[in-house]
Symmetry: C2
Subunit: 486 residues, 2 copies
C-alpha cells in the first residue's frame, strides 16, 4: 500500500526522524521481544552487502571463519574479573532446558572471548600452532535498558574476531591492522569516515589492555562508536590457560586480540546519509542500485514494459543491481516516493514519450549542490554511464560525510566552559588536551553528557599538541576527542 504520510524532518526531531526512516523504509520493525527487532529484507540486504565486503577483507588478511556456541557456562564468564564486571548486568540467562533445571546456568553470549579462548587452549601446544586468526559471524545478546533500532538492541548481529599470537608485538600489530581494515571498510563501503583513536581506561572494553576505536559523526553531531579492536594482552590467556611452548622451549601465555562490528553500522549509515525524504544508501552496499519505473496507463503499455525489461537486462549485464517496479496498482508517483524513502541511488523512468525519443529520465537520489537531480538522456548513454555514475555517487557521499565531520569538529578548546559551550552550540567532536585523569571525564560527563570518545590517533591530531588539560589542572598528556554519543 502506498505510504505517503510525510516524514518528520531531521530539524524537527532527529530521533523521531531516525525511527520513522528505519520503520517506513522497511529496514526493520519492532519485535514482540523486549528490545529486539526484526531485520526486514531491505535492511538485511544492506547488512549482507556489508558482510560480504568485510568478510572478503578479513579473508584477504588471513582470517578464517568458524562458529562457537551461543551458550557460555556462567563459570567461564566469571573467570576474567574485569570482563564479568562489565558484562554481568546485561546477561540473559538460560536456567532450564529439556524440561529440567540446569545444574549450571548458561549465559547467552554477550561476546565470546571466554569460550573461544577456552577452545584455543585445547588446540594450541607449540608456537607453530600460532597465530590463530579466526572470525565468527554471529548473534549476541546484551540486555540493555534503553534500546534503539539497530543502534542498541538486546540481540544484534555482528562479527567478532579472536586471535592468539606468540608475542605482544604481533598481537598489538594485529589489533592495529584490523582497526585499519575497519576504517577502510567504513570509508569505502559505507561512505562513513570515522576518526580513530584509543579508548581511555574508563571506556575500555571489559578485559582489554588497549581498545582502539572507530568514531563516526552522525548528522545530529552525536558520535557513533562504529567498531572496536582490542589488544587483550595475556588477560584471557592466563584465565583460560592458553599456553604454548616457545621456539626457545619455554612455556608461555599467548597474546590475544578481539574486534567487532555489528548491525549498528546500518544505523550509522542511516544517520550519515539520510535526508528528509528518507534513506540514502551508498551504491556499493545498496541491494538495488537503480530502480526502473515504467510510466504506464497509456493506450498500449506493452512496448513500455518491454523496454523497461530490456534496459534492466542490459544494466544487469553491466553489473548493476537493478529492479523493475512494474506494479500496476500503484501510481508512478507513489513508487517514486517509496524508492526515494528506501534510498535507492538512481531511478530510471521510461514512458511512451521516452520510447519515441529513445531517451530515459535518469534521477539521482541526491546531488551535489547546484546540480540537477533529473536528466533526460539517450537510453544508450544512461546504460553506458550508470556504473561510473554509481561510483561518483559513492565518492560524493564519502566526501560530503568527511566535510561534515571536519566542519563539525572543534579544535583548540582549552577549558570545560568552552567545551560545554561548543557542545551546546551544536559542535560534534571537540578536541582538547587531557591530563589522563579519569576525574576530568567524570566532571565533563556530568556537566555536558559528553564522553571521551578516544585519545586521537596521530593522523587526526591538531597541528600543535595542546599544552594543558582541558580541566585547567595539569599538563596535557594526549589530545582527546569529546562528544555526546549513541
Amino acid at each position: 500500500m502506498a505510504d505517503e504520510k510525510k516524514l518528520t524532518t531531521r530539524a524537527e526531531d532527529f530521533s523521531e526522524w531516525y525511527n520513522e526512516i528505519v520503520l517506513r523504509s522497511e529496514l526493520a520493525d519492532y519485535a514482540p521481544v523486549r528490545g529486539s527487532m526484526v531485520i526486514r529484507p531491505w535492511g538485511y540486504g544492506i547488512w549482507e552487502n556489508m558482510q560480504r565486503a568485510l568478510d572478503a577483507m578479513l579473508k584477504d588478511t588471513g582470517h578464517e571463519n568458524a562458529y562457537f556456541p551461543l551458550l557460555i557456562p556462567m563459570s567461564f564468564i566469571e573467570r576474567e574479573k574485569a570482563h564479568v564486571e562489565g558484562f554481568a548486568p546485561e546477561l540473559a540467562i538460560v536456567t532450564h532446558a529439556g524440561g529440567k533445571q540446569l545444574e549450571e546456568p548458561y549465559a547467552i553470549r554477550p561476546t565470546s572471548e571466554t569460550i573461544i579462548y577456552a577452545m584455543y587452549a585445547k588446540w594450541v601446544q607449540s608456537y607453530r600452532d600460532l597465530p590463530i586468526l579466526m572470525n565468527q559471524w554471529a548473534n549476541v545478546m546484551r540486555w540493555e535498558l534503553r534500546t534503539r533500532l539497530f543502534l542498541r538492541t538486546t540481540e544484534f548481529l555482528w562479527q567478532e574476531g579472536h586471535t592468539a599470537h606468540a608475542t605482544a608485538a604481533e598481537a598489538e600489530a594485529e589489533a592495529l591492522m584490523i582497526l585499519g581494515v575497519y576504517r577502510r571498510f567504513m570509508e569505502e563501503w559505507i561512505a562513513m569516515p570515522p576518526f580513530t583513536g584509543v579508548k581511555s581506561d574508563t571506556e575500555r572494553f571489559a578485559g582489554a589492555v588497549k581498545s582502539h576505536s572507530c568514531e563516526a559523526l552522525m548528522q545530529d553531531n552525536k558520535a557513533l562508536q562504529a567498531g572496536t579492536s582490542h589488544f587483550l594482552g595475556q588477560n584471557f590467556a592466563k584465565q583460560f590457560d592458553l599456553k604454548f611452548q616457545s621456539e626457545a622451549g619455554q612455556e608461555e601465555y599467548a597474546w590475544n586480540t578481539s574486534w567487532g562490528v555489528s548491525t549498528r553500522l546500518v544505523g550509522g549509515m542511516v544517520m550519515s546519509h539520510g535526508d528528509d525524504a528518507g534513506l540514502v544508501v551508498p551504491p556499493k552496499i545498496a541491494p538495488i542500485q537503480a530502480v526502473i519505473v515504467p510510466i504506464l496507463g497509456g493506450e498500449d503499455e506493452a512496448p513500455v514494459r518491454a523496454k523497461t525489461e530490456e534496459v534492466a537486462a542490459r544494466l544487469k549485464s553491466a553489473g548493476v543491481r537493478v529492479k523493475v517496479d512494474a506494479r500496476d496498482h500503484i501510481s508512478a508517483g507513489a513508487k517514486y516516493y517509496e524508492w526515494e524513502r528506501k534510498g535507492v541511488p538512481f531511478r530510471i523512468e521510461i514512458g511512451p514519450k521516452d520510447l519515441a525519443k529513445g531517451s530515459v529520465a535518469l534521477v539521482r537520489r541526491v546531488t551535489p549542490e547546484g546540480e540537477k537531480r533529473k536528466a533526460f538522456i539517450p537510453e544508450a548513454e544512461a546504460i553506458a554511464t550508470l556504473p561510473a555514475r554509481l561510483d561518483a555517487f559513492q565518492g560524493e557521499l564519502l566526501e560530503a560525510a568527511r566535510r561534515r565531520r571536519d566542519a563539525n569538529t572543534v579544535r583548540g578548546v582549552t577549558s570545560i566552559d568552552e567545551l560545554a559551550e561548543a557542545l551546546d552550540g551544536g559542535a560534534g567532536f571537540v578536541f582538547t588536551g587531557w591530563s589522563g585523569d579519569p576525574a576530568v571525564e567524570a566532571e565533563i560527563k556530568e556537566r555536558t553528557k559528553a564522553t571521551l570518545r578516544a585519545i586521537v590517533d596521530e593522523e587526526f591530531r591538531s597541528p600543535s599538541a595542546p599544552a594543558k588539560c582541558v580541566s585547567g589542572k595539569g599538563a596535557s598528556v594526549a589530545e582527546v576527542a569529546w562528544a555526546r554519543a549513541y
Copy 2:
C-alpha cells in the same frame, strides 16, 4: 603437529570412524556446553560453500533474506497445539535477564514459525502484499538427549524459509518447488542424491499439514533426513491472525510453508563420501580443491618453492581454490596424510626432479575402480586440465553415491519378517506397500528400529505398485520406504 595415529575403519566401527573423522579432519570439536560443538574453519568453510550455493538458488527462486529474533515468548510457542507438543520437551528457556527474573520466560527458537507468522500478520493487509517469500540463516536450539557432532547437536545452524500465500494451491506448489531445489542442491553440490517423499502422520513436522522430505542413504545404510519442506495449511495463520483481504474483498487466512536444511548436511557429506583414510570433500564445496606440496630438503629449495607458488597462481587464475603447504617442520609424507584426511580432492607434488622434467605428480583423493591415483604429467597439462578433472571428480562422487543408494535399496518386500531380515542383512531402504495404519509403523519400529522414512514420490516408486500392506493386513494405499535412521 603431525597426527598419524591410524583411523578406525568403517568396517570396524562406523560410528567411531565418523567421530574420529570429524575431530581429526578438524571439521569440528566438542565444546564445553552440553551437546554443543565448535565448527572449526575446515568445517565452517564447507558450510559456507553450501550456504553460498543454496542461498543463490533461493534468491533465484524469488526469496529474500531477513532476520527474526532468537528469543520467542513462551506464549507464542504455546499457541499452535501440535507445535508446542512437538517442541516443548526440547526447549531451552531464558528466565532471567539484565539481573532480573523475566515476567514471561522466553524460549530460544527451536524453529521460528510462531514469531515469523506473528510478524507477517502485522505486515499483510491485502492479497497484494502476498506472497511473502522469506528465508533466514540462523542458529536454533533443541535440547536433545543424545547428540552427535553435526547430526544432532543442541545448537545448530540452518536456513529456515517461511512463506505466506493467498491460496492453498500456491503454497503447496511452493513447498514442492523448494523440495526440488533441495534435491538439486544435494545432488549437484554435495553429490548426495536423496529420494523424496511425504512423511506419515507420525513423522510429520509438528504443526504441518504435509511434510515433504529428502532422505539420503549413508554408507552404513542408515537413512539421513537431509531436508524438509512443509505445507502448513492455515494452522499457524489462524493462531497468529495472519489474514488478508482477497481480490474479491473477502477476509481470508493466508496459507504458509516452511522449510529448512542445516549443518547436519556436513555430517551427511562425511558419511556419503568419506573412506578409511579420512574425509572426501566434493570439489564444488571444498574450501581447498587442490593442495600443492613442495618436496623440500634438497640442496636448493628456492626453485621448488618458487615453482609451487607459480603453479598456485596459475591455478588460481583458472578459478581453482588452491593452497600451497610450504611448512618446513612437517615432512611431505605427513602433509599427504593430513590433506587426505581433510579430503582435499587433488594434491600436486613438485620436487627438484619434477622441476627438471617440467612435470608434476597429480594425485586424486579417490579414483573410480581400476584407475590410477597418481599421474606424472607435464605441468602445463596439469594446470590446463584441473578444472575439468574437478568436474569429473564431482560427477563420479554423485554417480557412486547414486549407485550405492540404489544397490542398497530393497524393493518388493511383502512381510514384516522379510523386512526385518532385509534390514538385519544390511539393507538400506526397504520399499513396501502400506495400509496407512500408524500401528504398522509402531510394530515395525518396535521390531526392527526402522521408521517410515517417507511415502515415496512417483519418480522413485517401483514399476508395479505393491498390492498389500507389509503387515499383511489390508490393501496398500502407498509405497513407502523404511530404514533405520539418524
